[in-house]
């Protein structure tokens, strides 16, 4: 991309906080404000505040909005109740994953699709191409929203101080319109950290006021601003896939161990949806003869496996590839997610190594996630 990176409505705030910025999917985003390890641990134990305004919002409205999304996406979107959200995917006709999405049903005939920044245009184009014949309208709302996230065990208390909305009644993967610190927001109980938390979709013009109000309200609870670096280690510990790493057009949801998001029993469009035939075949293959499985790798040493590193046996035989890896602040040792040949993918499999720049470092195969919060 040769264009100058885009800046969010909170750009000046990040710079005033001394953030280290990074280019991410064409956006200039905060990577970290201080130590990414401290930011990570703050979200695990207290609360963190994120600017996620790079995420891509697409609104779908109309009498056949549900039918269109049932056809264009792999999930049962018509079955999502108003005020609830669903994790889903959009696939190619051949079954490859174009993106993973969260779809919020805002009203009977209105949905908001949230795509990864790197894929927002792809998703918009695919939805538009698949909308023919449906009585539904697709609106590019990427510039209509800023997105702030408050994540961590203290986040309900912090938000409660700023809103009259019924947060106790707001379940995980639900969203409701409300007012937070005098700002109109869609309040969603969603996140990408493995903790309880909220995502607040607001007008860009309100983003700074909301950020400041949340910062003030969270001060005593230990809320800190958090960058994308700790967001990545938080989601990695929580075993959540990241597009471009675990998910690509070369993988189907079944390859990624996420076949549950594909719903073949749809009632709309006579059960048809884009990718159906290929995904049915992928489901069968994953059941009968899976080529590789997505597993966790837990380091015995201190060297960090990175995306693209080969998973090998002691004799050097390649049995897989790391898709994400980082030092885990919670576990105090490096962890990775990797695609590994099914024969070596069972938790506890011994003799598995990662080739770290020529040296074979031993790893333990584990089930995902690495971290699960106590409820």
């Amino acid at each position: 991309m040769t264009d100058a990176p885009r800046r969010t409505a909170l750009d000046a705030t990040h710079r005033a906080l001394g953030a280290t910025m990074t280019d991410f999917a064409g956006w200039d985003m905060p990577l970290r404000y201080s130590s990414e390890r401290d930011e990570h641990l703050a979200v695990r134990t207290r609360a963190g505040l994120f600017d996620l305004s790079h995420m891509g919002e697409i609104t779908v409205t109309g009498p056949q909005a549900a039918d269109l999304l049932d056809y264009a996406l792999v999930g049962n979107i018509g079955g999502v109740k108003t005020g609830r959200a669903r994790y889903t995917m959009i696939c190619e006709d051949g079954g490859g994953i174009l993106d993973d999405l969260i779809v919020y049903r805002l009203a009977d005939q209105e949905y908001m699709v949230v795509a990864n920044a790197s894929n927002a245009q792809v998703v918009l184009d695919a939805l538009t191409a698949r909308a023919g014949g449906f009585d539904a309208a697709i609106r590019d709302d990427r510039d209509a929203y800023a997105l702030l996230a408050v994540q961590g065990p203290e986040s309900p208390g912090i938000l409660k101080a700023l809103t009259d909305a019924d947060l106790d009644g707001l379940k995980y993967y639900a969203g409701l319109p409300g007012t937070v610190a005098g700002v109109q927001a869609l309040i969603a109980r969603t996140g990408y950290t493995g903790e309880d938390g909220f995502e607040l979709f607001v007008r860009p013009a309100d983003a700074v006021a909301l950020w400041e109000a949340l910062t003030e309200a969270g001060k005593d609870a230990g809320l800190v601003p958090c960058g994308l670096s700790c967001r990545d280690t938080l989601r990695l510990e929580a075993g959540m896939p990241l597009y471009g790493h675990e998910l690509t057009t070369a993988t189907t949801p079944f390859d990624a161990g996420l076949g549950r998001v594909v719903k073949f029993e749809k009632t709309t469009n006579n059960g048809d949806f884009v990718g159906r035939a290929a995904l049915a075949a992928a489901a069968e293959r994953a059941e009968a003869n899976p080529p590789r499985k997505l597993v966790g790798l837990l380091a015995e040493g201190r060297r960090v496996p990175r995306a693209g590193y080969r998973v090998v046996l002691a004799d050097g035989t390649v049995i897989g590839e790391v898709t994400s890896g980082a030092p885990s602040p919670t576990l105090g040792k490096p962890v990775a997610i990797a695609y590994v040949d099914a024969a070596h993918a069972a938790p506890g499999t011994e003799g598995v190594c990662v080739d770290i720049r020529g040296s074979h470092e031993p790893y333990e195969v584990t089930a995902l996630p690495f971290y699960k919060r106590q409820k």
Partner: protein, 125 residues
Amino acid sequence: MSNPQQLRYSKEHEWLSGAEEGVSTVGITEHAANALGDVVFVQLPEVGATVAAGETCGELESTKSVSDLYSPVDGEIAEINEDVVNDPSLVNSAPFEGGWLFKVKTSGEPAELLSADEYAAFIQS
């Protein structure tokens, strides 16, 4: 941030102390430590190993990346900082002090090492 005046600096962001009985201390600069983020693993050369100016002699691993460590001078490794091996975060918290990496008995030194002011200008450019 300020780079101590008494040190000299390489364009690979290492600092070098003045020699005491032919032995200089080497570390990475605060600028480099900030750019890396939290350092989680440090691999240092072995005591007795020969190093050459501008050649890699170890690595520094942070949350997001791994970077080669270069020696700013020719010489032989006299001592390594075991504290930083055990607690790599010292590189971030005290890059010019407790986060030093190794001591080297210098046998030759490139002409292009920078003064503190020259290094400050270099990282601004």
